[in-house]
């Protein structure tokens, strides 16, 4: 296999050895009747086009605008997320943890790559990297600085290592200057990284 720098971006170049190997494996599994190729296409389409962090952003925006919803979300993330009702919203066991002026939450999976994909889609490469997985628990403030976020020493950091089938979503602080914005406008402000805990939501 090739190293991770040898990607055939966009499929416009000569296919890599790995790309050829995957193609051969796929054709074998289809020939054996183990895999339906149309189902394979549908899965890829779903991950590329249907799931993603906008679902999590919607949950955050609703919590910012509806105090009763926020209370339900923090008490029972899974059921409150299911209320929002996007496809797959009932899938995962999710706990929502709230950032405040004195507490900053950060989510990691040191053992593999566990991630709240029902609300955020597939994880970015950095989330799955050895650098993030190794350092988030021992040096969370240093990791945040890698993202350009320097926390005041007086702000406590809480790191959530996702060691079981429970997924964590950070409820970021609502930025100043958004008092007049509705749920749709707020949804557009919430970044994926803010819901992992490596960023704050910027004031628009």
């Amino acid at each position: 296999m090739t190293g991770h720098h040898d990607h055939d971006h966009g499929g416009q170049e000569i296919p890599s050895a790995t790309a050829l190997r995957v193609k051969a494996l796929e054709s074998l599994l289809v020939e054996k009747g183990l895999v339906d190729p149309a189902a394979l296409d549908a899965i890829i389409d779903s991950y590329e086009n249907k799931v993603g962090p906008r679902h999590g952003a919607r949950v955050v925006a609703r919590a910012w605008t509806d105090p009763a919803y926020k209370a339900r979300l923090l008490a029972d993330g899974s059921n409150a997320i299911a209320e929002v009702g996007f496809p797959g919203s009932q899938r995962a066991h999710v706990a929502v943890v709230e950032n405040t002026p004195s507490l900053h939450n950060l989510v990691v999976c040191t053992l593999c790559s566990c991630y709240p994909s029902s609300v955020l889609g597939l994880p970015p490469v950095w989330y799955k990297s050895s650098a993030y997985r190794s350092r988030a628990v021992i040096d969370p403030r240093g990791v945040l600085r890698d993202f350009g976020l320097t926390l005041d020493e007086g702000v406590a950091v809480r790191v959530w290592d996702s060691t079981a089938e429970l997924r964590y979503l950070v409820l970021p602080e609502r930025p100043a200057g958004t008092e007049g914005m509705d749920e749709d406008a707020l949804t557009a402000l919430v970044s994926r990284d803010a819901m992992i805990g490596t960023a704050k939501v910027a004031t628009p």
Partner: protein, 219 residues
């Protein structure tokens, strides 16, 4: 298993490098590997814990050198070979062995969204009687199992506090060996950063892990 996958607290991997406007997949084959993994998983010949353990058992240099989806590909091939779902000869030739029956996939385009959106719950209503309650002080056991475990090395032997009881959940150490789900109570356990990393850590900081009852003892 004390493998390189258990990397919480290790040094030397450098800075975290976020990618601007990162695509969902960096090459089309990555999506194919993800999809093949889901569809082969639908045969239910393995489970999530066995799947994770197969990735952990890749040679350490491969684990660290492969990209994420290269690891998935290598481990999936290992699982299919070990279970006889494909043979080494078929893998080498790219074609089904002569005389073998063509199977019918358990998931088709009509039903695939059901597996994508399925509720993958690992909670089991077995009436477990929890040994610990919120606020209890516990110590993570010092164990070094050769098989799969979700108790990272950095927490073993450390003192923490039970924060939340999540009910009985499938126990990965057993399920990964196909030895049964053996559900037991799962807890969120909170450790101070100083307990885990020493006096240099910020006294306000904490790390929490979700740990099964067998990983814990009273303290």
């Amino acid at each position: 298993m004390n493998g390189v996958h258990d990397m919480g607290g290790m040094h030397g991997f450098g800075p975290v490098l976020p990618e601007v406007d990162e695509p969902v997949f960096h090459a089309p084959w990555e999506g194919r590997v993800l999809g093949l993994n889901r569809l082969m998983g639908a045969w239910r010949r393995w489970n999530i814990d066995a799947s994770r353990h197969s990735i952990e058992r890749l040679p350490p240099a491969d684990y660290l050198g492969f990209s994420y989806y290269e690891k998935w590909l290598a481990a999936m091939i290992n699982r299919m070979l070990a279970l006889g779902m494909i043979t080494a000869g078929e893998l080498a030739s790219g074609h089904k062995a002569d005389g073998t029956v063509v199977a019918s996939p358990p998931v088709t385009a009509d039903t695939v969204m059901d597996i994508i959106n399925a509720v993958g719950s690992y909670q089991r209503d077995v009436g477990a009687n929890p040994r610990f309650a919120a606020g209890d002080r516990v110590r993570a056991r010092t164990i070094n199992p050769e098989g799969h475990t979700r108790l990272p090395r950095y927490a073993r032997g450390r003192l923490g506090v039970i924060e939340r009881d999540h009910g009985a959940q499938v126990f990965p150490d057993s399920n990964s060996r196909f030895a049964g789900e053996a559900p037991q109570t799962l807890y969120t356990v909170c450790f101070t950063a100083r307990e885990l990393w020493g006096e240099a850590a910020n006294p306000a900081d904490h790390v929490s892990l979700d740990l099964w009852e067998d990983y814990l003892e009273p303290a």
